[in-house]
């Protein structure tokens, strides 16, 4: 539809026409601001926390474990912050010198920031995910959302609005 619009504007004499082909789905999926009815409801990006620890594939398990804070995972990212894996911390990790690449789970499930909270909460429960990794459509890490935060805000939203968006 935008292709036809762009062509028509060109025919109407508009000389500087651009077509954002990926459209508003791409825009919203990358956590960029939107307006309208749906924008009034909080989405998964609202509860994603950017303080989830990260590391690289070539780091040592022992070094990563020391910075995990209260998170049960560390997200493995590349130089462009693209998610490549997740390291779930095991209290029985004994080989501090093993590389992250040897212990991580590659290709974890990631969710987009524009997913409605109720949808996200159901998905996390069904898939047994906690926390959820939130990324752009290019796989760049935005943060991690704890299931309890997703469920709490989803419940509050339903109570406030009287229903799911």
């Amino acid at each position: 539809m935008s292709g036809r619009a762009a062509a028509r504007l060109d025919g109407l004499g508009f000389r500087s026409v651009f077509r954002y082909t990926p459209g508003k789905m791409d825009w919203a999926a990358n956590g960029l601001p939107t307006e309208g009815h749906l924008a009034r409801y909080p989405r998964l990006g609202r509860v994603a926390r950017a303080d989830v620890p990260t590391c690289r594939v070539d780091e040592r398990i022992g070094d990563v474990r020391d910075r995990r804070a209260s998170w049960p995972i560390t997200v493995v990212v590349d130089d462009h912050a693209v998610v490549v894996g997740v390291l779930r911390h095991d209290p029985h990790d004994v080989d501090r010198f093993a590389r992250v690449e040897q212990a991580m789970r590659p290709g974890p499930i990631t969710l987009r920031p524009n997913i409605p909270l109720a949808t996200a909460a159901e998905y996390l429960r069904r898939m047994g995910l906690d926390p959820a990794l939130v990324t752009t459509s290019d796989g760049v890490l935005l943060g991690a959302a704890r299931r309890e935060d997703v469920e709490r805000l989803a419940t509050e939203t339903v109570a406030r609005t009287g229903g799911k968006p």
Binding site: S16, W27, T34
Partner: protein, 67 residues
């Protein structure tokens, strides 16, 4: 002929004063649209574009996705 752009270019163009136009029907626009975008449904383009847009300024059009 229109140039295809990605979202980072959209942000730059908007920063430079480009108009952003969603060409979907009004109910879809009301449901959700890019912040700051106006709505000119495709079927109204001939009538409304000359009234609401400036021919010598950049315009970005979009819809849902790769439609």
């Amino acid at each position: 002929m229109a140039k295809e752009v990605l979202r980072e270019e959209v942000r730059e163009l908007v920063g430079g004063g480009a108009a952003v136009v969603e060409v979907l029907p009004a109910d879809e626009y009301e449901h959700e649209h890019i912040q700051g975008a106006i709505n000119i449904p495709l079927r109204n383009l001939d009538r409304e574009a000359p009234e609401r847009l400036r021919r010598n300024e950049p315009v970005i059009v979009y819809c849902n996705d790769y439609q």
